[in-house]
């Protein structure tokens, strides 16, 4: 109530006029639910998308942040919303991993949600404190195997991308090291910069600047090909550990039962947004690659979601990790 009032006041102050809505779909303002707090990486993607898709469909797209329980609360809200195309969900890789991470998930991502399309993919990078003895991925693996009781790796919380990437790495080299959980990437990076913790795997969005400044070491990136922003850094396969290709992807979904024409209109608007130079520019700054026209479709996202659930569930189950 208060929030709405304040929002209204501010929009007056800033002279932001609400966009006029058209008669057909979308007849009303479209809400994209971001199941994480404002200001986070998923929120940033959502806000860029809301602006561009709003332009494409000539209506106002607003973001509603429903954070909590690693994205489960917000996703559950959308799964139960009216399937009329006015409530959408922007989620990330967590949608696929929540299936294995939560024993009591209040929704089934494949049964209760309708895919619209993939949005983008942010690669991860393996980084270590500046004075860490190993300098290449091979050396890191040797070092970790010999001293698995001493080495520590930071993660930004259970079920987060950095945690999953660490699990994936350890299952690939069949060695377990001590995880050090943090509340978010910021504090984890703080301790990595300060040399308190040995290594971590994090989105390039957070690591690129520190890598370039020489404050941390980098071993490899988890993308298929080298990144334009870090051309000198090898991929995992090049560095000697093929098969680890992972990234934090974002996807747009709608409640199950949303009419086909609306889904098609939304997918078209998404594709249009992903061709917007401003969006591409900002994604590039984040180290994210925008989904291609073929990926930003309901079918492609459905296949992607199935593949990701199949990929992560055994890894998470093997690590016996649960978020609830």
């Amino acid at each position: 109530m208060l929030a709405a009032w304040l929002g209204a006041l501010v929009s007056l102050v800033l002279l932001v006029a609400p966009a006029s809505a058209e008669a057909r779909y979308p007849a009303r303002v479209v809400t994209i639910v971001v199941p994480f707090p404002a200001g986070g990486p998923t929120d940033t993607v959502g806000r860029l998308l809301a602006q561009a898709m709003g332009g494409a469909l000539k209506t106002q797209f607003i973001i509603e942040n429903i954070g909590g329980s690693g994205g489960v609360l917000g996703a559950a809200r959308v799964a139960k919303s009216a399937p009329d195309g006015t409530t959408l969900l922007l989620h990330n890789i967590g949608l696929a991993t929540s299936v294995a991470l939560y024993r009591k998930l209040p929704y089934d991502p494949r049964r209760d949600l309708e895919p619209i399309g993939l949005v983008n993919d942010v690669p991860m990078s393996f980084v270590a404190r500046r004075d860490f003895p190993a300098s290449t991925l091979g050396e890191l693996i040797d070092y970790v195997k010999v001293r698995k009781d001493e080495v520590t790796y930071a993660n930004a919380g259970i079920g987060g991308a950095s945690h999953l990437c660490g699990l994936y790495f350890m299952s690939a080299i069949a060695t377990r090291v001590t995880p050090v959980p943090y509340k978010g990437t910021g504090p984890a990076m703080n301790d990595l910069l300060g040399g308190q913790v040995d290594f971590m795997c994090d989105q390039t969005t957070n690591t690129t600047n520190h890598i370039k400044a020489g404050k941390i070491k980098v071993f490899a990136v988890t993308s298929k090909a080298r990144l334009p922003s870090l051309p000198e850094v090898p991929t995992m396969a090049e560095a000697g550990l093929p098969g680890i290709e992972l990234g934090v992807w974002h996807a747009l979904l709608a409640p199950k039962g949303t009419p086909q024409p609306i889904l098609e209109a939304l997918a078209a608007a998404l594709q249009q947004a992903l061709a917007d130079p401003l969006v591409l520019d900002r994604f590039a700054a984040l180290g994210a690659s925008a989904a291609t026209r073929d990926q930003a479709t309901p079918d492609a996202l459905r296949r992607h979601l199935d593949a990701e659930i199949a990929k992560w569930s055994p890894i998470i189950k093997a690590a016996d990790a649960y978020a609830d």
Binding site: M1, L2, A3, L6, G7, V10, S11, V13, L14, V16, P37, A38, G39, G40, P41, D43, T44, R47, L48, A50, Q51, I62, I63, N65, G68, S69, E150, T152, G157, I158, G159, T178, V180, P181, Y182, K183, G184, G186, P187, M189, N190, D191, L193, G194, Q196, V197, T205, T208, N209, H210, K212, A213, K215, D281, R282, A285, L286, Y322, A323, D324
Partner: protein
């Protein structure tokens, strides 16, 4: 003299008509939300983020920053007038500020808070510009073990906040620590003390506990008195501090500024520690320790200076390293990313105008806040002349709206009511809620750092004494504890 040139560039960038306007809008909004309990800078900045899309990056950051430190000014207003601290940082201000208000010196307390904040803000802003990168490196040297010892030192210091029995103060701190454990375990995600209530899974919001313990507890306490039909303050003496008052606050403001500036740099709660570290120090230095808690002007000046200095220097890790020191800074980083600026150490080098422009705007904003707040003092004080039976329903309503707006959650209102009941009970038992609240705020942080320090040391507890920073802090805590316990032990023995 490169710095002067950089600062000149910064002021030039901040002194455009548009940026001055955004700075003003920011501090005005900040003051407003600071006055409204519950609604904090976090929620406000989150709501405003989309509006800043269309602005220049510098203008956006200037406005968002203004909201943040503006809220530090506004938060003390309700703490002083009606003992409702809207923010964790103004909890301490409520102790002596509210007593001053009851004595008719609300105007003096409010003006002292504004003047102290301005002096501290000006100094801390300069510090950000001159020593920002250097201080950021110092902050990085702090490891989990060091934070853990710092928080322990803070807990020892918080014993000083209580006036009565030492044993009760310790009891309150421990109860606070336990309440802080409610919620999901950091490492495993297991829920603790939630009784299966999902709304408790993320813990109890600090503002809910503070409004319940202080705000509602005080209302019940007042209503039990026969004065309930009268205003909080019957006579109002002087709106502005006298020359003697000003002379008394110079020392506290200076010390508060230094403590706040130093602790504010530390990410993860440094600035929360600052306000009551400053209060504890003043109480220990004071010739008349008993005056504290009964309306000592030093007890308002020092913590207000400390929390505003801390608010400014907490920008240092964000601006120089791209690391958020609290959730508001995390939102500001998000704002930078949305504007295409990738946060990190290179921002200062590549975007000097942004860095120095923001720093310059922080000084301008602080000046605006004083100009904005001093004339408001008279208006606020007049509120206190409203008969209490008209005023208290308004306070209750404001607290309810505040509690609800935190997470759009009715459950939080019930939770606040429960804390109100606890607060009333504590007053009846002559236990003070302030140490409880500080234990509650620091408890989760203590646990997080303790566990992380022990994971990193592979379970070896000697890490707390072998790391130099930690060892010094622990030694200080031990000295503090002895200094607090010895006199009261002696007092116990004397009659025997």
């Amino acid at each position: 003299m490169e710095l002067l040139g950089d600062l000149a560039t910064g002021f030039a960038a901040a002194f455009t008509a548009a940026n001055l306007l955004y700075c003003f809008v920011g501090v005005l909004l900040g003051t407003l939300i600071g006055v409204l309990p519950g609604l904090g800078p976090n929620a406000t900045i989150a709501m405003l983020l989309p509006f800043t899309f269309t602005l220049e990056p510098l203008s956006a950051l200037i406005m968002l920053a203004g909201i943040y430190y503006g809220a530090q000014y506004g938060g003390s207003t309700t703490a002083i007038l009606i003992k409702v601290p809207g923010e964790a940082s103004s909890v301490v201000t409520a102790l002596d500020g509210y007593q001053m208000a009851r004595q008719g010196r609300a105007g003096v307390a409010l003006a002292t808070a504004a003047i102290g904040s301005f002096a501290a803000g000006s100094f801390a802003t300069l510090l950000v510009a001159v020593l920002g990168p250097l201080l950021a490196d110092v902050a990085l040297a702090f490891g989990p073990a060091d934070y853990c010892s710092l928080i322990l030192l803070g807990l020892v210091a918080s014993v000083v906040l209580a006036q009565g029995s030492l044993l009760k103060a310790f009891g309150m701190i421990v109860l606070g620590l336990l309440l802080g454990l409610v919620g999901s375990d950091v490492d495993t995600g297991v829920e603790r003390f939630t009784f299966g209530i999902p709304k408790l899974a993320e813990g109890i919001p600090v503002a809910v506990a503070a409004m319940g313990l202080f705000g509602l507890g005080e209302i019940v306490h007042n209503l039990r008195d026969e004065h309930a039909r009268e205003p909080i303050a019957r006579r109002i003496s002087g709106l502005l501090p006298s020359r003697a008052d000003l002379a008394r606050i110079v020392g506290p403001v200076t010390r508060g500024t230094l403590i706040g500036s130093a602790l504010g740099v530390l990410p993860g709660g440094g600035s929360i520690l600052a306000s009551f570290a400053a209060y504890s120090l003043e109480k220990k230095l004071a010739t008349d320790e008993d005056a504290f808690g009964k309306g000592a002007i030093e007890g308002v000046a020092a913590p207000e200076a400390a929390n505003n200095a801390g608010a400014q220097t907490s920008f240092i890790p964000m601006l120089t390293l791209g690391l958020p020191s609290n959730s508001v800074m995390a939102l500001m980083l998000g704002a930078m990313i949305i504007h295409g600026i990738v946060p990190g150490p290179s921002v200062m080098v590549e975007q000097p105008t942004l860095f120095y422009g923001l720093v310059a705007s922080m000084w301008i904003g602080n000046l605006m806040l004083v100009v904005l707040n001093l004339p408001l003092v008279g208006l606020w004080v007049r509120l206190l002349s409203i008969p209490y039976h008209h005023l208290f329903p308004v306070i209750v309503a404001l607290c309810c709206i505040g509690a609800y707006s935190l997470r759009n959650n009715v459950f939080d209102i019930y939770l606040m009511a429960a804390f109100g009941f606890l607060g009333t009970l504590l007053v009846a038992l002559r236990c003070e809620p302030a140490p409880l609240l500080l234990g509650f705020i620091l408890g989760p942080m203590l646990e997080e750092y303790l566990r992380r320090a022990l994971i990193l040391s592979r379970g070896d507890p000697t890490v707390f004494v072998t790391r130099p920073i930690s060892a010094v802090l622990l030694a200080l805590a031990a000295i503090g504890l002895i200094a607090v316990v010895l006199p009261s032990v002696r007092k116990l023995r004397e009659p025997a």
